[in-house]
Amino acid sequence: MGSLGGIPLYVLEFGDELVYFSPYTITLFLLALTFTLLAIVSRPERQVDVAFGGDAYTTKIISVDEMRFRRFMAIACGLASMGAMVTGDVFNFTLFTAMVGITNVGIVAAVKSPHVQDAAYQYGLVALSATVPLFGAAALYAAATGSLSMIELAKGTLPAVPLVAKALLVIGVVGEGMAPFYAAKAEMFRAPGAPYVIMCSLSSLLIFLRVAEVVMIG
Amino acid sequence: MTGRIKRVAGRLAACGIVACGAAAALYLYGMLPFWAYAAVTVLGFPAAVVALFLWWMADEGKEDIPFIGY
């Protein structure tokens, strides 16, 4: 199972870490780029709340300070997911994934609603503890195969990656991205500020899509 | 106001359609690699479609708040 996401079209060299653009990674990369650009150019929406028992409604307005900080976090999140999409190195991928987890908390950390902050806190705990299996998996990859480069792993000449390492990698990504246990994330998405909140869900879906490729090689 | 958006949308639709058509023709005659043709279409087709719809009937209403109940 050599080239799952297609043949690498272009390989960018960062010393020992190759960044490769196969049709799959380039698609994911471009999507991350598109949404990051959208987060940069769009202003936050004003969330409408209906006042109970009447026709009145209120809109929530995000202050400029809060908007600036959240936009910064959204851009950081976008950059981290772009990096995670194209990197060709397992350890580097786990680092970018950990960064996605942190920026996801940052995006909603500025929201005033206590409900959202509670959910973000729970999510933060999970994201924090998920780094243990995540980096543990990278260490197992290195110890069992002697290499961290996905391109080398995909060649099939190295020893097979132990199933445990793959499972640890997946659960680490699941913890960072909260892929199936979406309850906490769904609560976080009630926060106003659509362009930034979307980066949360986009980044976690993207890292999940990428880890699907990573575990299938090697 | 009405005229401006309509004009922009019209131009965008025209550009999109011309780009898609040109890319398809060039690809057919083998003057454009497939990936470039696909990229142009993926970018141009949505722009052309939505701009065309907007050009038909854009911006004649005033901005309104979202629907909040019956």
């Binding site: 799952l4 799959y24 959208l38 309850a183 | 058509g21 993926v42 479609v49 038909w56």
Partner: protein, 282 residues
């Protein structure tokens, strides 16, 4: 390929129309004509359009372009026999499109639609497990190589039947009016689509048409192999009708129940993938 693109879009909308008609007939209603969805798209494209005062403008408009764009890309990948991973990656990213549609307007209904769409992201995980199973069987995820494998070994439909079931559930969760379509449930007005009217909605309809064609065609390509175009069309219509039956006779689940069922399916698929992994690969 432009002509195919437009045809695929129209055919997808027609399939959605057939879907509505069949559901209506099963429920003993007359139902709309089968070309209703095409008329819908045409009608919306002539409507007066603007951006709501509370919306996040660039996102509100940009997401329509993204929606059409990603499915155009998926169509290209399918037609050229590219990687199955890309198609299903795009399929998963359709969640983000729904999410952005819902949240960008500021409307409370749209927001709930978007939040539900995020909750139900769990429904896409069976997909990846079944993709992995297909990869284990055929040794590749390129559509051309999968169809070539099937030409030799017979269709995957019989070889990997549990994967077919899982994938069918995934298709079902994307069809409107199904048991898993919690994002389009009627208590949310129109869910994530509530505030996208006029040209924006027409763009969304274009995206829906393309999406339906691409998903059904990919399902057939993967599990039945390369068929002649006529058989492909007939197969897609039959598939739609079977999906309509499933949608018509099942009630909609509550959001978290729907997620739980799909997670359980994922667990079953993981077990199956484990069996295949130990059985097929020595």
């Amino acid at each position: 390929m432009i002509a195919e693109l437009v045809l695929a879009m129209l055919f997808g909308l027609l399939l959605l129309g057939i879907h509505r008609k069949v559901i209506a007939r099963i429920q003993r209603r007359p139902g709309p004509p089968v070309w209703q969805e095409i008329l819908h798209a045409a009608k919306f494209s002539f409507k007066t359009t603007w951006v709501p005062a509370t919306a996040s403008g660039a996102l509100f408009a940009g997401i329509v372009l993204v929606a059409v764009g990603i499915w155009t890309a998926a169509f290209f990948v399918m037609m050229t026999g590219g990687s199955l991973l890309i198609i299903f990656g795009i399929y998963m990213l359709h969640k983000i499109v729904e999410h952005a549609f819902g949240l960008s307007s500021g409307s409370p209904y749209g927001k709930f639609g978007g939040v539900r769409s995020v909750i139900s992201a769990a429904s896409e995980i069976p997909l990846f497990v079944s993709v992995a199973v297909i990869g284990l069987f055929t040794g590749s995820l390129e559509l051309t190589e999968i169809t070539a494998w099937e030409a030799v070994h017979g269709p995957l439909f019989f070889t990997a039947f549990p994967a077919v079931v899982a994938m069918y559930l995934v298709l079902l969760s994307k069809m409107p009016f199904g048991p898993f379509s919690i994002v389009e449930s009627k208590e949310l007005v129109s869910g994530y689509k509530t505030e996208h009217f006029g040209a924006w909605r027409a763009g969304l309809e274009v995206c829906n048409g393309l999406k339906t064609t691409v998903l059904l065609a990919t399902f057939l390509l993967v599990f039945a192999g390369q068929l002649p175009v006529l058989w492909m069309v007939i197969g897609m219509i039959l598939l739609t009708v079977s999906l309509s039956f499933a949608c018509a006779v099942t009630p909609m689940l509550s959001p978290f129940d729907s997620v739980t069922i799909q997670s359980l399916v994922t667990a079953l698929m993981l077990v199956y993938a484990g069996i295949v992994f130990t059985g097929v690969l020595p």
